[in-house]
């Protein structure tokens, strides 16, 4: 490990390497198995509340607060194929590390991102929240379906899919280690995909 400042994931990307990608792909392979489902209603409810808050922060465009939900070393992954693939070997709809998530927010905040100027309005629904245990007692996986109604340049349109959240449990809630967003039309041509999912 180098000096901490040199490794600040907001300004550099040392953590995204082969080991990170490999562990990420493994973490998102065959994880939503019935025998791993967490039955405890209180825990499921806490996860649901977390995901609902995330949706609200995005709808309210509180991007800085949304970024704070993520762990310092995190991934935001929108696969471009339904099989999801290995991002080292194939193009994704989006694959961001911490720095690029902050890039995304920075760009939206410039006021010159014409694809979001004027900004679109969104209403997000999160449903079918299920929680799954992992090998690591401190990490759970949440699976949820989402539906986003978006008003873009006067047109109302819809996004749909499911998300997998890899969540680190902390004393004060969760932090997102990785969020995988699976659009049902991930391998189709879509109009203006500038929305933050």
């Amino acid at each position: 490990m180098g000096a901490a400042a040199e490794r600040d994931p907001s300004t550099s990307s040392y953590y995204v390497g082969d080991a990170f990608y490999r562990e990420l792909v493994e973490a998102f392979t065959d994880w939503d198995r019935d025998e791993l489902a967490v039955a405890d209603p209180a825990r499921r409810d806490a996860a649901r509340a977390f995901l609902e808050r995330e949706a609200r922060l995005l709808d309210r465009k509180r991007y800085e607060d949304w970024l704070a939900l993520f762990a310092p070393e995190c991934a935001y992954w929108v696969p471009g194929t339904p099989e999801r693939g290995d991002p080292r070997r194939e193009i994704t709809v989006a694959f961001h590390d911490r720095r690029q998530l902050e890039d995304r927010v920075y760009r939206l905040r410039t006021g010159y991102a014409w694809s979001q100027s004027p900004e679109s309005r969104t209403v997000r629904s999160v449903s079918n929240v299920e929680l799954f245990a992992t090998d690591d007692a401190g990490i759970v996986m949440a699976r949820s379906n989402f539906h986003i109604a978006e008003l873009l340049d006067g047109d109302l349109r819809h996004w749909a899919g499911w998300a997998g959240h890899r969540l680190q449990t902390a004393a004060d809630g969760y932090s997102i280690l990785a969020k995988q967003i699976n659009l049902i039309d991930c391998d189709r041509n879509v109009r203006n995909p500038s929305l933050t999912l």
Partner: protein
């Protein structure tokens, strides 16, 4: 089979001399569905159109779906290894025969009544043939196919026009930048690895108008430039070389015959290993893989990192192929006001093992460097194209201007092969391609699909 069919409904007659001028074009080229319909035969039916990359159909029997204009096709490497572009339209009553996007098949059976075709297009069987009095061995019942399909170094093109020049002649001098782009890869080889898939509510020509436009960059991509340079003292990342005085800068535009053109940004970058990498934006894994490559390949790391970086070229082959950075970008007209644009990512394949263990890291970086522009750059252009389409609703304000540089001959030089060389910010490429467009729209091509499977 060169019989030309007369349209059943009378066609509207357009005066393209009145619609396309030296300095401007009429809005109806972008808004009139009848002109769009005519383009599907007179442009997309007349010239060589890009369909797919050979890496999408590497083995015999591999296929991928594509479109020529709006015609649904199956691009297949048949069982004998011959590249074909079959109409994905059952001869019987017209159903889509193949409904998978890609795959491998020796034969295609139509799901509706079970007519079956070999991957050469030959009809191999129909259910209960005793109910027919015709001879199914006659070619008229084979799948229709595009008569001329050719690959230029992996890039598969096809034309329906029996009178079109050969592909090599059609490409002409745009082959030089295409060759240079391909030859930058070990073995001249690359592979398509999925895509960023976009579309916009606008006419397909808005994309071609933009393809060599160096005028829009600092405005349309302002947010991207700001983002890429947010940690920089001065500007230096990404397309910063367009700032200040792009008219006289090192970026050059080459306008070629047959409406192809090339914006060459390479002279804006110092000629040394690692210079391309140095202007890359900030991508996931950059520092990690750079450190690993420098540790493991101290002498070659810069060259490897350049291979992961975006090549500063825009090579445009009329009407639908755009080589940008490391992308093979393909545009598809869907309707007069809707266009798909698919940014196929490419990977280095290294057939001779020149890269050794660097291949994985180079491609891991290269996937990320390619995603950035469609995600944070192209989306803003597409928003601007949509707003042009919206603006063109104004009937009385009928003209679109393209006269930057017109009347200023000192800005241009000519190469003997019909190439004009000028500043990156001039609309000369648009004037040149619209001249070709006008000629094509005034000419009925010899559209000659075949059912001959030999």
């Amino acid at each position: 089979m060169t019989t030309q069919q007369k349209p059943i409904l009378p066609e509207r007659v357009f005066d393209f001399d009145a619609l396309v001028h030296e300095d401007r074009v009429h809005r109806s080229l972008y808004t009139d569905p009848a002109i769009f319909d005519l383009e599907m035969t007179r442009i997309f039916g007349a010239v060589w159109v890009y369909l797919a990359h050979e890496s999408q159909v590497p083995q015999p029997n591999d296929f991928v779906r594509a479109r020529l204009g709006r015609r649904p096709l199956i691009v297949v490497r048949d069982s004998n290894g011959v590249l074909r572009a079959l109409y994905n339209r059952c001869t019987h009553r017209g159903a889509t025969v193949c409904r998978q996007d890609r795959g491998s098949a020796k034969a295609f059976q139509c799901p509706y009544h079970g007519w079956t075709y070999l991957n050469t297009g030959k009809l191999s069987g129909v259910p209960w043939p005793e109910g027919y009095s015709c001879d199914f061995s006659r070619p008229e019942f084979n799948l229709m196919q595009v008569p001329r399909v050719e690959s230029y170094r992996g890039l598969i093109f096809a034309t329906l026009n029996a009178d079109a020049p050969g592909l090599i002649d059609y490409l002409g001098p745009v082959r030089r930048p295409l060759d240079e782009w391909l030859d930058r890869h070990p073995g001249g080889a690359l592979e398509v690895r999925e895509a960023n898939r976009l579309k916009f509510n606008g006419n397909w020509k808005l994309l071609y108008d933009n393809s060599a436009d160096g005028y829009h960059v600092v405005f349309s991509h302002r947010s991207l430039l700001m983002m890429e340079n947010r940690f920089q003292e001065g500007d230096g990342k990404g397309m910063s070389y367009y700032k200040d005085s792009p008219d006289t800068g090192p970026v050059k535009l080459y306008s070629f015959p047959n409406a192809h053109h090339f914006k060459d940004k390479r002279d804006a970058i110092p000629k040394r290993p690692g210079a391309l990498w140095a202007i890359e934006g900030l991508h996931p894994g950059m520092e990690h893989y750079e450190a690993a490559l420098r540790r493991d390949f101290p002498d070659r790391a810069d060259a490897f990192l350049d291979l992961a970086s975006s090549e500063p070229v825009n090579i445009n082959v009329f009407p639908n192929l755009h080589i940008l950075g490391n992308h093979i970008q393909v545009s598809e007209p869907l309707s007069v006001t809707e266009t798909a644009t698919t940014w196929y990512g490419t990977a280095v394949v290294d057939p001779d093992g020149e890269l050794g263990d660097a291949l994985g890291p180079v491609n891991a970086l290269r996937m990320r460097t390619q995603e950035q522009f469609p995600t944070f750059g192209e989306v803003d252009d597409l928003a601007n194209f949509e707003q042009i389409q919206a603006g063109l609703a104004a009937e009385e304000d009928a003209w679109i201007y393209m006269h930057r540089g017109l009347g200023l001959p000192e800005r241009y030089s000519a190469a003997g092969d019909g190439t004009t060389i000028g500043p990156a910010t001039d609309e000369v490429f648009m004037r040149d391609y619209m001249r070709v467009y006008r000629r094509l729209m005034q000419t009925e091509p010899n559209i000659a699909p075949t059912r001959d499977v030999s």
